[in-house]
Subunit: 311 residues, 2 copies
Protein backbone atom coordinates (compact mmCIF):
# COMPACT_ATOMS: atom_id res chain seq x y z
CA UNK A 1 0.00 0.00 0.00
CA UNK A 2 1.34 3.44 -0.84
CA UNK A 3 2.32 5.83 1.92
CA UNK A 4 -0.36 8.36 1.12
CA UNK A 5 -3.05 5.68 1.48
CA UNK A 6 -2.10 4.63 4.99
CA UNK A 7 -0.43 7.44 6.93
CA UNK A 8 -2.79 8.66 9.64
CA UNK A 9 -2.93 9.86 13.19
CA UNK A 10 -3.84 7.21 15.74
CA UNK A 11 -7.62 6.85 15.90
CA UNK A 12 -9.99 6.04 18.73
CA UNK A 13 -10.21 7.69 22.10
CA UNK A 14 -7.54 5.71 23.94
CA UNK A 15 -4.55 7.01 25.89
CA UNK A 16 -2.28 7.00 22.84
CA UNK A 17 -4.92 8.37 20.44
CA UNK A 18 -4.53 11.61 18.51
CA UNK A 19 -7.73 12.86 20.19
CA UNK A 20 -5.90 12.70 23.52
CA UNK A 21 -2.50 13.78 22.22
CA UNK A 22 -3.09 16.86 20.15
CA UNK A 23 -2.89 19.61 22.77
CA UNK A 24 0.30 20.96 21.17
CA UNK A 25 -1.46 21.21 17.82
CA UNK A 26 -4.42 22.89 19.55
CA UNK A 27 -2.11 25.38 21.22
CA UNK A 28 -0.35 26.26 17.96
CA UNK A 29 -3.60 26.55 16.04
CA UNK A 30 -5.09 28.85 18.68
CA UNK A 31 -1.96 30.99 18.82
CA UNK A 32 -2.33 31.97 15.18
CA UNK A 33 -6.08 32.64 15.18
CA UNK A 34 -5.47 36.40 14.84
CA UNK A 35 -3.88 35.70 11.43
CA UNK A 36 -6.83 33.57 10.39
CA UNK A 37 -9.35 36.22 11.52
CA UNK A 38 -7.39 38.94 9.74
CA UNK A 39 -7.56 36.89 6.54
CA UNK A 40 -11.28 36.22 7.01
CA UNK A 41 -11.85 39.94 7.38
CA UNK A 42 -10.59 40.32 3.82
CA UNK A 43 -13.16 37.94 2.35
CA UNK A 44 -15.82 39.69 0.31
CA UNK A 45 -19.32 39.20 1.73
CA UNK A 46 -21.84 37.89 -0.71
CA UNK A 47 -25.23 39.50 -0.65
CA UNK A 48 -27.72 37.98 -1.10
CA UNK A 49 -25.98 34.80 0.03
CA UNK A 50 -27.16 32.56 -2.80
CA UNK A 51 -24.46 29.97 -2.43
CA UNK A 52 -23.16 28.08 0.55
CA UNK A 53 -19.94 29.10 2.23
CA UNK A 54 -17.75 26.03 2.19
CA UNK A 55 -14.97 25.37 4.67
CA UNK A 56 -12.61 22.51 3.88
CA UNK A 57 -9.96 21.07 6.14
CA UNK A 58 -7.65 18.98 3.97
CA UNK A 59 -5.88 16.78 6.46
CA UNK A 60 -8.45 17.11 9.23
CA UNK A 61 -7.37 14.10 11.31
CA UNK A 62 -9.82 12.92 13.96
CA UNK A 63 -9.56 15.24 16.95
CA UNK A 64 -11.55 18.20 18.12
CA UNK A 65 -8.98 20.68 16.72
CA UNK A 66 -10.47 20.51 13.24
CA UNK A 67 -13.99 21.07 14.62
CA UNK A 68 -12.78 24.01 16.69
CA UNK A 69 -11.12 25.68 13.67
CA UNK A 70 -14.18 25.21 11.49
CA UNK A 71 -16.32 26.72 14.28
CA UNK A 72 -14.00 29.73 14.54
CA UNK A 73 -14.24 30.38 10.81
CA UNK A 74 -18.00 30.00 10.64
CA UNK A 75 -18.64 32.08 13.78
CA UNK A 76 -16.36 34.83 12.51
CA UNK A 77 -18.04 34.95 9.12
CA UNK A 78 -21.51 34.82 10.70
CA UNK A 79 -20.64 37.83 12.85
CA UNK A 80 -19.35 39.72 9.82
CA UNK A 81 -22.59 39.06 7.94
CA UNK A 82 -24.65 40.12 10.95
CA UNK A 83 -22.55 43.28 11.46
CA UNK A 84 -23.18 44.18 7.83
CA UNK A 85 -26.91 43.65 8.33
CA UNK A 86 -27.00 40.71 5.91
CA UNK A 87 -28.36 37.21 6.30
CA UNK A 88 -25.46 34.79 6.56
CA UNK A 89 -25.25 32.08 3.90
CA UNK A 90 -25.60 28.41 4.69
CA UNK A 91 -22.32 26.96 5.88
CA UNK A 92 -20.89 23.57 5.21
CA UNK A 93 -17.62 21.87 6.04
CA UNK A 94 -15.67 19.15 4.28
CA UNK A 95 -13.44 17.17 6.63
CA UNK A 96 -10.92 15.59 4.32
CA UNK A 97 -8.17 13.11 5.08
CA UNK A 98 -6.77 9.76 3.98
CA UNK A 99 -9.14 6.75 3.96
CA UNK A 100 -7.23 5.36 6.96
CA UNK A 101 -8.19 8.39 9.08
CA UNK A 102 -10.59 7.70 11.95
CA UNK A 103 -13.67 9.46 10.58
CA UNK A 104 -15.91 7.57 13.03
CA UNK A 105 -14.33 9.30 16.01
CA UNK A 106 -14.49 12.63 14.23
CA UNK A 107 -18.18 12.23 13.35
CA UNK A 108 -18.99 11.25 16.93
CA UNK A 109 -17.24 14.38 18.20
CA UNK A 110 -19.35 16.61 15.97
CA UNK A 111 -22.16 18.25 17.93
CA UNK A 112 -25.62 17.48 16.52
CA UNK A 113 -26.76 19.66 13.68
CA UNK A 114 -28.77 22.52 15.11
CA UNK A 115 -31.71 22.05 12.82
CA UNK A 116 -32.48 18.43 13.64
CA UNK A 117 -34.97 19.18 16.39
CA UNK A 118 -35.41 21.84 18.99
CA UNK A 119 -35.34 19.32 21.86
CA UNK A 120 -32.06 17.86 20.67
CA UNK A 121 -30.62 21.31 20.32
CA UNK A 122 -31.64 22.21 23.85
CA UNK A 123 -30.51 18.88 25.30
CA UNK A 124 -27.05 19.24 23.86
CA UNK A 125 -24.40 21.55 25.27
CA UNK A 126 -23.50 22.76 21.84
CA UNK A 127 -24.89 22.43 18.38
CA UNK A 128 -23.56 22.63 14.88
CA UNK A 129 -24.69 25.35 12.52
CA UNK A 130 -23.24 23.79 9.38
CA UNK A 131 -23.60 20.68 7.27
CA UNK A 132 -20.68 18.30 7.56
CA UNK A 133 -19.20 15.65 5.29
CA UNK A 134 -16.11 13.49 5.50
CA UNK A 135 -14.05 13.02 2.37
CA UNK A 136 -11.68 10.02 2.31
CA UNK A 137 -9.35 11.65 -0.16
CA UNK A 138 -6.57 14.19 -0.05
CA UNK A 139 -5.05 14.69 -3.44
CA UNK A 140 -8.03 14.99 -5.71
CA UNK A 141 -10.87 17.35 -5.31
CA UNK A 142 -14.54 17.17 -5.09
CA UNK A 143 -16.63 17.39 -8.18
CA UNK A 144 -19.60 18.71 -6.29
CA UNK A 145 -17.85 21.92 -5.41
CA UNK A 146 -15.72 21.93 -8.52
CA UNK A 147 -18.21 23.41 -10.91
CA UNK A 148 -20.33 25.51 -8.63
CA UNK A 149 -19.35 29.09 -9.25
CA UNK A 150 -19.21 31.54 -6.34
CA UNK A 151 -18.78 28.96 -3.65
CA UNK A 152 -16.38 30.34 -1.09
CA UNK A 153 -13.79 27.82 -0.24
CA UNK A 154 -11.53 27.84 2.76
CA UNK A 155 -8.82 25.33 3.08
CA UNK A 156 -6.76 24.92 6.17
CA UNK A 157 -4.38 22.24 5.10
CA UNK A 158 -1.12 21.66 6.90
CA UNK A 159 0.94 20.23 4.03
CA UNK A 160 3.84 19.02 6.11
CA UNK A 161 3.98 15.54 4.69
CA UNK A 162 5.44 14.90 1.30
CA UNK A 163 3.67 12.20 -0.73
CA UNK A 164 6.60 9.80 -0.65
CA UNK A 165 10.16 9.49 0.49
CA UNK A 166 12.18 9.94 -2.73
CA UNK A 167 13.44 6.56 -4.02
CA UNK A 168 17.04 7.79 -4.22
CA UNK A 169 17.06 8.51 -0.46
CA UNK A 170 16.60 4.78 0.22
CA UNK A 171 18.86 3.61 -2.62
CA UNK A 172 22.30 2.47 -1.45
CA UNK A 173 23.83 3.20 -4.87
CA UNK A 174 22.65 6.82 -4.84
CA UNK A 175 24.61 9.83 -3.55
CA UNK A 176 21.30 10.88 -1.91
CA UNK A 177 21.22 7.67 0.20
CA UNK A 178 20.51 8.77 3.77
CA UNK A 179 22.57 6.16 5.58
CA UNK A 180 22.11 6.08 9.35
CA UNK A 181 19.46 8.80 9.30
CA UNK A 182 15.70 8.71 9.26
CA UNK A 183 15.21 12.37 8.34
CA UNK A 184 16.97 15.07 6.31
CA UNK A 185 17.95 17.12 9.36
CA UNK A 186 21.76 17.04 9.27
CA UNK A 187 21.74 14.94 6.09
CA UNK A 188 23.81 15.49 2.92
CA UNK A 189 22.98 18.14 0.35
CA UNK A 190 21.98 15.44 -2.17
CA UNK A 191 19.48 13.95 0.26
CA UNK A 192 18.04 17.37 1.07
CA UNK A 193 17.76 18.19 -2.64
CA UNK A 194 15.82 14.99 -3.30
CA UNK A 195 13.39 15.87 -0.50
CA UNK A 196 13.09 19.44 -1.78
CA UNK A 197 12.31 18.22 -5.29
CA UNK A 198 9.55 15.98 -3.90
CA UNK A 199 8.18 18.90 -1.87
CA UNK A 200 8.16 21.13 -4.97
CA UNK A 201 6.35 18.53 -7.03
CA UNK A 202 3.79 17.84 -4.28
CA UNK A 203 3.06 21.49 -3.56
CA UNK A 204 2.74 22.24 -7.28
CA UNK A 205 0.25 19.37 -7.63
CA UNK A 206 -1.65 20.65 -4.60
CA UNK A 207 -1.85 24.17 -6.05
CA UNK A 208 -2.95 22.84 -9.46
CA UNK A 209 -5.78 20.84 -7.84
CA UNK A 210 -6.88 23.81 -5.76
CA UNK A 211 -6.70 26.22 -8.68
CA UNK A 212 -9.22 24.09 -10.58
CA UNK A 213 -11.73 24.56 -7.77
CA UNK A 214 -11.32 28.26 -7.18
CA UNK A 215 -13.70 30.27 -9.27
CA UNK A 216 -14.38 33.67 -7.83
CA UNK A 217 -13.43 35.20 -4.51
CA UNK A 218 -11.93 31.97 -3.25
CA UNK A 219 -9.04 32.14 -0.81
CA UNK A 220 -6.74 29.71 0.90
CA UNK A 221 -5.28 30.00 4.34
CA UNK A 222 -2.36 27.60 4.56
CA UNK A 223 -0.52 26.70 7.71
CA UNK A 224 2.48 24.44 7.59
CA UNK A 225 5.46 23.49 9.65
CA UNK A 226 8.33 25.54 8.26
CA UNK A 227 11.93 26.47 8.90
CA UNK A 228 13.76 29.79 9.13
CA UNK A 229 17.17 28.63 7.92
CA UNK A 230 17.76 28.73 4.17
CA UNK A 231 19.65 25.42 4.31
CA UNK A 232 17.11 22.54 4.16
CA UNK A 233 19.37 20.26 6.19
CA UNK A 234 18.55 22.48 9.17
CA UNK A 235 14.86 21.63 9.59
CA UNK A 236 14.29 23.77 12.69
CA UNK A 237 11.42 22.52 14.90
CA UNK A 238 10.76 19.60 12.57
CA UNK A 239 14.46 18.76 12.87
CA UNK A 240 14.19 18.69 16.65
CA UNK A 241 11.18 16.42 16.55
CA UNK A 242 12.07 14.03 13.73
CA UNK A 243 15.84 14.44 13.43
CA UNK A 244 16.61 14.25 17.14
CA UNK A 245 13.85 12.60 19.19
CA UNK A 246 12.72 10.16 16.50
CA UNK A 247 16.31 9.54 15.37
CA UNK A 248 17.33 8.67 18.95
CA UNK A 249 14.41 6.26 19.26
CA UNK A 250 15.34 4.44 16.02
CA UNK A 251 19.04 4.36 17.02
CA UNK A 252 18.10 2.86 20.38
CA UNK A 253 16.12 0.14 18.61
CA UNK A 254 19.19 -0.68 16.49
CA UNK A 255 21.58 -0.62 19.46
CA UNK A 256 19.32 -2.85 21.50
CA UNK A 257 19.29 -5.31 18.61
CA UNK A 258 15.52 -5.06 18.14
CA UNK A 259 15.86 -4.05 14.49
CA UNK A 260 18.78 -4.11 12.03
CA UNK A 261 20.46 -0.91 10.89
CA UNK A 262 19.31 -1.78 7.33
CA UNK A 263 15.71 -1.69 8.52
CA UNK A 264 16.26 1.75 10.03
CA UNK A 265 17.97 2.98 6.87
CA UNK A 266 15.02 1.76 4.82
CA UNK A 267 12.76 4.14 6.72
CA UNK A 268 12.73 7.91 6.32
CA UNK A 269 10.22 10.40 7.62
CA UNK A 270 8.21 11.83 4.70
CA UNK A 271 8.25 15.41 5.97
CA UNK A 272 9.84 18.55 4.54
CA UNK A 273 9.61 21.83 6.43
CA UNK A 274 10.00 24.52 3.75
CA UNK A 275 11.47 27.99 4.11
CA UNK A 276 9.46 31.01 2.98
CA UNK A 277 11.69 31.10 -0.12
CA UNK A 278 11.00 27.40 -0.90
CA UNK A 279 7.28 28.05 -0.63
CA UNK A 280 7.28 31.24 -2.67
CA UNK A 281 9.33 29.68 -5.48
CA UNK A 282 6.73 26.96 -6.05
CA UNK A 283 3.73 29.31 -5.84
CA UNK A 284 5.32 31.72 -8.32
CA UNK A 285 6.43 28.97 -10.73
CA UNK A 286 2.91 27.52 -10.68
CA UNK A 287 1.35 30.92 -11.33
CA UNK A 288 -2.24 30.07 -10.45
CA UNK A 289 -2.22 31.80 -7.08
CA UNK A 290 -1.07 35.15 -5.76
CA UNK A 291 0.50 35.30 -2.32
CA UNK A 292 -1.34 37.92 -0.25
CA UNK A 293 0.75 37.37 2.83
CA UNK A 294 3.52 34.96 3.69
CA UNK A 295 5.14 34.88 7.05
CA UNK A 296 6.87 32.79 9.66
CA UNK A 297 4.87 32.39 12.83
CA UNK A 298 6.73 31.00 15.84
CA UNK A 299 4.33 28.66 17.56
CA UNK A 300 6.82 26.94 19.85
CA UNK A 301 7.95 23.32 19.81
CA UNK A 302 5.82 20.95 17.78
CA UNK A 303 6.20 18.38 20.52
CA UNK A 304 6.04 19.91 23.95
CA UNK A 305 3.09 21.57 25.66
CA UNK A 306 4.19 23.72 28.56
CA UNK A 307 0.98 23.28 30.48
CA UNK A 308 -0.52 19.99 29.35
CA UNK A 309 -3.37 20.34 31.85
CA UNK A 310 -4.55 23.45 30.09
CA UNK A 311 -4.94 21.56 26.77
Amino acid sequence: MKLERMLSMKGGKGEASYVNNSQAQAQHARSMLHLLRETLDGVRLQSPPDFPFVVADLGCSCGSNTIYMVDVIIQHMTKRYEAAGCDPPEFSAFFSDLPSNDFNTLFQLLPPYGGVSMEECLASNSHRSYFAAGVPELIKLHAWINDCPFIKKWFIPIPVYINKVPDVVLDKRSTAYNKGRIFIHGASESTANAYKKQFQSDLAGFLRSRSKEMKSGGSMFLVCLGRTCSDPTDQGGAGLLFGTHFQDAWDDLVQEGLITSEKRDNFNIPVYAPSLEDFKEVVEADGSFIVNKLEVFRGGSPLVVNHPDAG
Copy 2:
Protein backbone atom coordinates in the same frame (compact mmCIF):
# COMPACT_ATOMS: atom_id res chain seq x y z
CA MET B 1 -29.27 9.66 23.30
CA LYS B 2 -32.11 9.61 20.83
CA LEU B 3 -32.81 6.54 18.77
CA GLU B 4 -32.02 8.19 15.46
CA ARG B 5 -28.57 9.19 16.74
CA MET B 6 -27.47 5.70 17.70
CA LEU B 7 -29.22 3.03 15.62
CA SER B 8 -26.71 1.47 13.24
CA MET B 9 -25.64 -1.79 11.69
CA LYS B 10 -22.77 -3.54 13.42
CA GLY B 11 -19.50 -2.09 12.19
CA GLY B 12 -16.07 -3.60 11.63
CA LYS B 13 -15.23 -6.70 9.66
CA GLY B 14 -15.81 -9.32 12.34
CA GLU B 15 -17.99 -12.42 12.15
CA ALA B 16 -21.07 -10.59 13.42
CA SER B 17 -20.47 -7.41 11.39
CA TYR B 18 -22.91 -6.07 8.83
CA VAL B 19 -20.16 -6.35 6.20
CA ASN B 20 -20.21 -10.11 6.71
CA ASN B 21 -23.95 -10.44 7.25
CA SER B 22 -25.60 -8.53 4.45
CA GLN B 23 -25.83 -11.17 1.75
CA ALA B 24 -29.64 -11.15 2.01
CA GLN B 25 -29.66 -7.41 1.43
CA ALA B 26 -27.25 -7.86 -1.50
CA GLN B 27 -29.46 -10.51 -3.01
CA HIS B 28 -32.59 -8.37 -2.73
CA ALA B 29 -30.86 -5.28 -4.07
CA ARG B 30 -29.52 -7.21 -7.06
CA SER B 31 -32.88 -8.79 -7.76
CA MET B 32 -34.46 -5.41 -8.39
CA LEU B 33 -31.69 -3.91 -10.52
CA HIS B 34 -33.89 -4.10 -13.63
CA LEU B 35 -36.28 -1.63 -11.96
CA LEU B 36 -33.40 0.69 -11.11
CA ARG B 37 -31.99 0.53 -14.66
CA GLU B 38 -35.44 1.12 -16.12
CA THR B 39 -35.75 4.25 -13.98
CA LEU B 40 -32.25 5.42 -14.92
CA ASP B 41 -33.18 5.05 -18.59
CA GLY B 42 -35.80 7.73 -18.01
CA VAL B 43 -33.31 10.31 -16.71
CA ARG B 44 -32.71 13.14 -19.13
CA LEU B 45 -29.07 13.35 -20.28
CA GLN B 46 -27.46 16.72 -19.83
CA SER B 47 -25.34 17.98 -22.67
CA PRO B 48 -22.86 19.54 -22.24
CA PRO B 49 -22.52 18.00 -18.77
CA ASP B 50 -21.82 21.22 -16.90
CA PHE B 51 -22.76 19.92 -13.49
CA PRO B 52 -21.80 16.81 -11.61
CA PHE B 53 -24.18 13.87 -11.42
CA VAL B 54 -24.69 13.19 -7.73
CA VAL B 55 -25.70 9.85 -6.31
CA ALA B 56 -26.74 9.76 -2.67
CA ASP B 57 -27.39 6.73 -0.54
CA LEU B 58 -29.28 7.88 2.53
CA GLY B 59 -28.82 5.05 4.96
CA CYS B 60 -25.75 3.60 3.31
CA SER B 61 -24.54 1.47 6.25
CA CYS B 62 -20.98 0.16 6.02
CA GLY B 63 -20.96 -2.81 3.68
CA SER B 64 -20.07 -3.27 0.05
CA ASN B 65 -23.75 -3.24 -1.01
CA THR B 66 -23.88 0.54 -1.06
CA ILE B 67 -20.69 0.73 -3.15
CA TYR B 68 -22.07 -1.86 -5.54
CA MET B 69 -25.31 0.06 -6.04
CA VAL B 70 -23.51 3.35 -6.63
CA ASP B 71 -21.26 1.59 -9.17
CA VAL B 72 -24.29 0.17 -10.99
CA ILE B 73 -25.88 3.61 -11.26
CA ILE B 74 -22.72 5.36 -12.42
CA GLN B 75 -21.79 2.64 -14.92
CA HIS B 76 -25.31 2.64 -16.33
CA MET B 77 -25.36 6.42 -16.74
CA THR B 78 -21.83 6.45 -18.22
CA LYS B 79 -22.92 3.91 -20.85
CA ARG B 80 -25.99 5.99 -21.69
CA TYR B 81 -23.83 9.09 -22.18
CA GLU B 82 -21.38 7.13 -24.34
CA ALA B 83 -24.17 5.59 -26.42
CA ALA B 84 -25.52 9.10 -27.07
CA GLY B 85 -22.04 10.23 -28.16
CA CYS B 86 -21.75 12.68 -25.23
CA ASP B 87 -19.02 13.12 -22.65
CA PRO B 88 -20.27 11.86 -19.32
CA PRO B 89 -20.42 14.36 -16.45
CA GLU B 90 -18.29 14.04 -13.35
CA PHE B 91 -19.87 11.70 -10.84
CA SER B 92 -19.90 11.95 -7.11
CA ALA B 93 -21.52 9.97 -4.35
CA PHE B 94 -22.72 10.93 -0.89
CA PHE B 95 -22.77 8.03 1.54
CA SER B 96 -25.09 9.19 4.25
CA ASP B 97 -25.99 7.53 7.53
CA LEU B 98 -26.21 8.17 11.26
CA PRO B 99 -23.05 9.38 13.05
CA SER B 100 -22.79 5.99 14.73
CA ASN B 101 -22.42 4.24 11.35
CA ASP B 102 -19.01 2.68 10.69
CA PHE B 103 -17.78 5.08 8.00
CA ASN B 104 -14.19 3.93 8.52
CA THR B 105 -14.99 0.44 7.25
CA LEU B 106 -16.97 1.88 4.36
CA PHE B 107 -14.15 4.24 3.33
CA GLN B 108 -11.63 1.42 3.50
CA LEU B 109 -13.82 -0.70 1.23
CA LEU B 110 -13.93 2.04 -1.42
CA PRO B 111 -11.53 1.33 -4.28
CA PRO B 112 -8.96 4.10 -4.81
CA TYR B 113 -10.09 6.99 -6.93
CA GLY B 114 -9.10 6.30 -10.52
CA GLY B 115 -7.45 9.62 -11.05
CA VAL B 116 -4.95 9.50 -8.17
CA SER B 117 -2.12 8.02 -10.18
CA MET B 118 -1.78 5.64 -13.08
CA GLU B 119 0.39 3.21 -11.06
CA GLU B 120 -2.15 3.03 -8.29
CA CYS B 121 -4.89 2.48 -10.81
CA LEU B 122 -2.98 -0.36 -12.44
CA ALA B 123 -1.92 -1.86 -9.13
CA SER B 124 -5.49 -2.04 -7.86
CA ASN B 125 -8.00 -4.62 -9.03
CA SER B 126 -10.64 -1.98 -9.34
CA HIS B 127 -10.84 1.75 -9.21
CA ARG B 128 -13.42 4.36 -8.47
CA SER B 129 -14.60 6.77 -11.13
CA TYR B 130 -16.40 9.13 -8.75
CA PHE B 131 -15.68 11.42 -5.82
CA ALA B 132 -16.96 10.12 -2.51
CA ALA B 133 -18.00 11.74 0.75
CA GLY B 134 -19.53 10.41 3.92
CA VAL B 135 -22.29 12.42 5.55
CA PRO B 136 -23.01 11.72 9.24
CA GLU B 137 -26.60 12.87 8.98
CA LEU B 138 -29.86 11.41 7.79
CA ILE B 139 -32.65 13.85 8.31
CA LYS B 140 -31.27 17.11 7.08
CA LEU B 141 -29.76 17.74 3.74
CA HIS B 142 -26.61 19.11 2.41
CA ALA B 143 -26.25 22.77 1.68
CA TRP B 144 -23.57 22.20 -0.90
CA ILE B 145 -25.98 20.41 -3.19
CA ASN B 146 -28.98 22.35 -1.99
CA ASP B 147 -28.55 25.42 -4.11
CA CYS B 148 -26.77 24.10 -7.14
CA PRO B 149 -29.31 23.97 -9.90
CA PHE B 150 -29.31 21.11 -12.38
CA ILE B 151 -27.45 18.70 -10.17
CA LYS B 152 -28.86 15.27 -10.70
CA LYS B 153 -29.59 13.58 -7.48
CA TRP B 154 -30.26 9.93 -6.91
CA PHE B 155 -31.31 8.69 -3.57
CA ILE B 156 -31.53 5.04 -2.71
CA PRO B 157 -32.82 5.19 0.82
CA ILE B 158 -34.55 2.28 2.43
CA PRO B 159 -36.80 4.16 4.85
CA VAL B 160 -37.81 1.16 6.88
CA TYR B 161 -37.07 2.65 10.25
CA ILE B 162 -39.37 5.18 11.83
CA ASN B 163 -37.63 7.94 13.78
CA LYS B 164 -39.00 6.83 17.13
CA VAL B 165 -41.33 4.37 18.72
CA PRO B 166 -44.48 6.43 19.46
CA ASP B 167 -44.65 7.30 23.18
CA VAL B 168 -48.19 5.93 23.52
CA VAL B 169 -46.99 2.46 22.46
CA LEU B 170 -44.82 2.30 25.59
CA ASP B 171 -47.32 4.04 27.88
CA LYS B 172 -49.23 1.63 30.16
CA ARG B 173 -52.14 4.04 30.45
CA SER B 174 -52.67 4.25 26.70
CA THR B 175 -54.95 2.08 24.60
CA ALA B 176 -52.02 1.89 22.16
CA TYR B 177 -49.80 0.22 24.82
CA ASN B 178 -48.23 -2.81 23.11
CA LYS B 179 -48.14 -5.12 26.11
CA GLY B 180 -46.22 -8.34 25.59
CA ARG B 181 -45.17 -7.43 22.07
CA ILE B 182 -42.04 -5.82 20.66
CA PHE B 183 -43.52 -5.05 17.24
CA ILE B 184 -46.87 -4.13 15.71
CA HIS B 185 -47.28 -7.43 13.91
CA GLY B 186 -50.38 -8.91 15.52
CA ALA B 187 -50.82 -5.86 17.77
CA SER B 188 -54.01 -3.89 18.45
CA GLU B 189 -55.47 -1.42 15.99
CA SER B 190 -54.56 1.49 18.33
CA THR B 191 -50.91 0.43 18.41
CA ALA B 192 -50.80 0.03 14.65
CA ASN B 193 -52.40 3.46 14.19
CA ALA B 194 -49.76 5.09 16.42
CA TYR B 195 -47.00 3.49 14.33
CA LYS B 196 -48.74 4.51 11.12
CA LYS B 197 -49.01 8.11 12.30
CA GLN B 198 -45.28 8.15 13.08
CA PHE B 199 -44.53 6.67 9.65
CA GLN B 200 -46.68 9.33 7.97
CA SER B 201 -44.96 12.13 9.84
CA ASP B 202 -41.47 10.75 9.13
CA LEU B 203 -42.08 10.13 5.44
CA ALA B 204 -43.63 13.59 5.03
CA GLY B 205 -40.55 15.13 6.70
CA PHE B 206 -38.31 13.08 4.44
CA LEU B 207 -40.18 14.23 1.32
CA ARG B 208 -40.12 17.87 2.45
CA SER B 209 -36.33 17.72 2.95
CA ARG B 210 -35.80 16.07 -0.43
CA SER B 211 -38.13 18.48 -2.20
CA LYS B 212 -35.95 21.40 -1.07
CA GLU B 213 -32.97 19.84 -2.84
CA MET B 214 -34.62 18.86 -6.08
CA LYS B 215 -34.38 21.57 -8.68
CA SER B 216 -34.60 20.31 -12.21
CA GLY B 217 -34.64 16.80 -13.58
CA GLY B 218 -34.05 15.30 -10.16
CA SER B 219 -35.48 11.90 -9.40
CA MET B 220 -35.69 9.55 -6.48
CA PHE B 221 -35.62 5.81 -6.56
CA LEU B 222 -36.92 4.56 -3.23
CA VAL B 223 -36.79 1.01 -2.02
CA CYS B 224 -38.36 0.05 1.27
CA LEU B 225 -39.56 -3.00 3.09
CA GLY B 226 -43.32 -3.04 2.52
CA ARG B 227 -46.37 -5.18 3.05
CA THR B 228 -49.14 -6.38 0.74
CA CYS B 229 -51.95 -6.60 3.30
CA SER B 230 -53.99 -3.45 3.85
CA ASP B 231 -54.11 -4.14 7.62
CA PRO B 232 -50.91 -2.75 9.22
CA THR B 233 -51.00 -5.37 11.99
CA ASP B 234 -50.03 -7.91 9.31
CA GLN B 235 -46.51 -6.69 8.54
CA GLY B 236 -45.66 -9.41 6.00
CA GLY B 237 -41.93 -10.15 5.76
CA ALA B 238 -41.12 -7.56 8.42
CA GLY B 239 -43.69 -9.28 10.63
CA LEU B 240 -41.95 -12.62 10.14
CA LEU B 241 -38.58 -11.14 11.03
CA PHE B 242 -39.47 -8.78 13.86
CA GLY B 243 -42.84 -10.06 15.04
CA THR B 244 -41.93 -13.75 15.11
CA HIS B 245 -38.15 -14.37 15.28
CA PHE B 246 -37.32 -11.29 17.36
CA GLN B 247 -40.46 -11.69 19.48
CA ASP B 248 -39.52 -15.31 20.26
CA ALA B 249 -36.01 -14.21 21.28
CA TRP B 250 -37.36 -11.57 23.67
CA ASP B 251 -39.96 -13.96 25.07
CA ASP B 252 -37.23 -16.54 25.72
CA LEU B 253 -35.22 -13.92 27.61
CA VAL B 254 -38.26 -13.20 29.80
CA GLN B 255 -39.09 -16.89 30.34
CA GLU B 256 -35.49 -17.66 31.27
CA GLY B 257 -35.64 -14.85 33.81
CA LEU B 258 -32.83 -12.89 32.16
CA ILE B 259 -34.97 -9.78 31.77
CA THR B 260 -38.30 -8.74 33.23
CA SER B 261 -41.43 -8.60 31.12
CA GLU B 262 -41.56 -4.83 31.84
CA LYS B 263 -38.17 -4.43 30.21
CA ARG B 264 -39.40 -6.26 27.13
CA ASP B 265 -42.57 -4.17 27.03
CA ASN B 266 -40.45 -1.03 27.20
CA PHE B 267 -38.81 -1.99 23.95
CA ASN B 268 -40.47 -1.86 20.53
CA ILE B 269 -38.89 -2.19 17.12
CA PRO B 270 -39.00 1.19 15.32
CA VAL B 271 -40.01 -0.24 11.95
CA TYR B 272 -43.17 0.18 9.91
CA ALA B 273 -43.58 -1.67 6.61
CA PRO B 274 -46.09 0.43 4.63
CA SER B 275 -48.56 -0.77 2.03
CA LEU B 276 -48.62 0.89 -1.40
CA GLU B 277 -51.71 2.75 -0.23
CA ASP B 278 -49.95 4.03 2.94
CA PHE B 279 -47.06 5.29 0.84
CA LYS B 280 -49.22 6.90 -1.84
CA GLU B 281 -51.36 8.71 0.72
CA VAL B 282 -48.35 10.50 2.21
CA VAL B 283 -46.78 11.39 -1.15
CA GLU B 284 -50.07 12.82 -2.41
CA ALA B 285 -50.81 14.75 0.79
CA ASP B 286 -47.30 16.26 0.69
CA GLY B 287 -47.70 17.23 -2.96
CA SER B 288 -44.06 17.99 -3.74
CA PHE B 289 -43.44 14.78 -5.68
CA ILE B 290 -45.24 12.88 -8.40
CA VAL B 291 -45.17 9.10 -8.29
CA ASN B 292 -43.93 7.80 -11.64
CA LYS B 293 -44.17 4.18 -10.65
CA LEU B 294 -45.09 2.43 -7.44
CA GLU B 295 -45.02 -1.31 -7.11
CA VAL B 296 -44.53 -4.23 -4.79
CA PHE B 297 -41.46 -6.27 -5.61
CA ARG B 298 -41.19 -9.65 -3.92
CA GLY B 299 -37.56 -10.07 -2.98
CA GLY B 300 -37.96 -13.05 -0.65
CA SER B 301 -37.44 -13.23 3.09
CA PRO B 302 -35.54 -10.31 4.62
CA LEU B 303 -33.67 -12.78 6.80
CA VAL B 304 -32.79 -15.93 4.96
CA VAL B 305 -30.40 -16.38 2.05
CA ASN B 306 -31.02 -19.66 0.23
CA HIS B 307 -27.43 -20.06 -0.87
CA PRO B 308 -25.29 -18.16 1.63
CA ASP B 309 -22.09 -19.28 -0.13
CA ALA B 310 -23.10 -17.42 -3.26
CA GLY B 311 -23.32 -14.10 -1.37
